[in-house]
């Protein structure tokens, strides 16, 4: 049975597209047949993060308006045979497709693949409506910022009021030092406020930015902490019980330990 999951957040720039690309990659690595869809028409990004921007011939608007068939619009990933992208149009805007159009597109995919991941645009307007209409379940992405958490709360309210499917939360860009110093909301506090199931925690990590600009999602790199975080999320999505990575207890590097020792020695001398 095909599961249709929409990745959304309310706020922009919290990592919806990164989450979509990486969950898609991680699910495909688990042997699932995955289609990722970019619904951010006019501001498409998912193709860039996946490094597929130069292979786009047809997009979702072409598909909806009947200029191509589904098979022609799907782009296969560079390395994973079972991962496909349906890109957004760049030259149009959100009004080019309707929620009913999206339902029709998804109906064609049901049965042909294991998971469909829909990357939603920011906001709660037309683009969000298009992304949410065909979904069975939802992955909400937030960062530890109060504004991002409040926007996810708003989206949860909308989805709950409409009696939609299951919702799960990804907390992105966690800065362990700030949480430890209680200068940033910690995962416990966020989950407590939102009353939602946790899908995964992703530490704030430069490697994610680098891999995004290279067009190779970090989930391809099983050694990085963020890459492992996405793999664990994929397994949790598939119903496995995976324990959470210790993102909050970072071991200090040898250099930091020496640095701290020096600093304390100096302050001791000064006092």
């Amino acid at each position: 049975m095909t599961r249709v999951i929409t990745i959304t957040s309310g706020k922009g720039g919290v990592g919806k597209t990164t989450t979509t690309a990486n969950l898609g990659t991680a699910l495909a690595k688990l042997g699932k047949r995955v289609v990722v869809i970019d619904t951010d028409i006019g501001l498409r990004n998912l193709d860039v993060v996946m490094g597929l921007q130069n292979r786009i011939i047809y997009d979702v608007v072409d598909l909806v308006e009947g200029r191509c068939r589904l098979r022609q619009a799907l782009i296969r990933d560079r390395t994973l045979d079972e991962l496909y992208l349906l890109p957004a149009a760049q030259s149009r805007d959100k009004s080019a497709v309707s929620p009913a159009d999206m339902m029709r597109v998804i109906a064609q995919l049901r049965g042909d693949c294991d998971v469909v991941l829909i990357d939603s645009p920011a906001g709660i307007e037309a683009g969000f409506r298009n992304a949410v209409a065909p979904a069975d379940e939802f992955v909400l992405v937030t960062t530890p910022d109060v504004s991002a958490v409040q926007d996810v709360d708003r989206v949860l309210g909308i989805l709950e009021a409409e009696g939609r499917g299951e919702t799960r939360l990804v907390i992105n860009r966690i800065r362990p030092e700030l949480v430890r110093r209680s200068e940033m909301m910690g995962p416990d506090e966020i989950l407590d406020r939102l009353n939602v199931r946790l899908l995964g925690l992703v530490p704030d990590n430069e490697d994610v930015l680098v891999s995004n600009s290279k067009g190779t999602p970090i989930a391809n790199d099983a050694r990085s902490l963020a890459g492992r975080a996405y793999h664990n999320m994929a397994r949790r999505l598939m119903g496995e019980d995976v324990s959470y990575l210790p993102v909050l207890v970072r071991r200090k590097s040898i250099w930091e330990r020496i640095g701290l020792w020096k600093r304390s020695a100096r302050s001791g001398a000064g006092g």
Partner: protein, 247 residues
């Protein structure tokens, strides 16, 4: 002004001395709304400026649908004031939108003193319904607004960006982090209490308060807010009927 009743299978419109009574029949809601829109389109000018009572019989409308009807009437310069229903669920929906609720028996023989009561705001005393309370069993999330003409009890948190507006008192059995307006029709005797009391902004009657910008709270007990001598006072809840005083 007894107008000839307009009857279709979906709706009936009847002019009375107080204004207009629209009775919604049974059937698919979309069709009923279309029918209503068509009648207002053709005869809207005739009814313009009147107060409307909506009679729903056993039909239960969702809050959005009732708002849609109110909007539709508003576009034709009519004001939805009353919902006449025998159904308890429907009463709560209407109450949440701040509408007057009547049961069919009460609605029938109403001697109106004057045709078309003036649209002036009714007195606070008439609008606050101290005998009724709405029980809200959910988290009030950012962007959601809970309204009630009587008291409102929320079992769950009120998150930042969420709002509760009540004619009477507001009780939050959970964490209060959003905006609350108790005594929203000008009743300064209303009170607000919460297990964890940290509202973004608090209004009681005509008074407004917000926490100090640099407030660091370490409070672990329930608190209650009332108006005393012209300011909103927040104090620990110590049981009994504390905080509630005669208006």
């Amino acid at each position: 002004m007894e107008n000839p009743p307009i009857m279709t299978n979906a709706i009936a419109i009847k002019g009375t001395r107080e204004g207009l009574t629209i009775t919604l029949g049974s059937g698919e809601l979309g069709a009923i709304l279309d029918d209503l829109a068509r009648h207002l389109e053709t005869q809207g000018a005739f009814f313009r400026g009147g107060n409307v009572a909506l009679q729903t019989d056993e039909l239960v409308l969702a809050q959005e649908d009732l708002s849609r009807i109110a909007d539709l009437l508003g576009r034709h310069q009519m004001v939805l004031r009353t919902v006449v229903t025998p159904n308890e669920e429907m009463r709560q929906v209407a109450d949440a939108l701040g509408l007057r609720v009547l049961s069919p028996e009460a609605a029938e023989p109403q001697p109106a003193p004057r045709p078309q009561a003036p649209v002036a705001a009714p007195s606070a005393a008439r609008l606050v319904d101290n005998t009724r309370a709405s029980l809200i069993h959910q988290i009030v999330r950012s962007g959601q607004v809970i309204r009630g003409t009587g008291h409102v009890v929320v079992i769950g948190d009120v998150n930042p960006g969420g709002e509760v507006v009540a004619g009477g008192d507001v009780v939050v059995w959970g964490r209060l982090r959003g905006i609350v307006h108790a005594g929203a029709v000008g009743s300064n005797a209303a009170m607000v209490c919460a297990l964890d009391f940290a509202p973004m902004q608090l209004r009681i009657g005509e008074y407004v308060a917000r926490p100090a910008d640099n407030e660091k709270r370490k409070v672990t007990y329930p608190e209650v807010a009332t108006v005393r001598d012209g300011i909103i006072v927040v104090e620990p809840w110590t049981g009994g009927a504390r905080g509630k005083r005669a208006p």
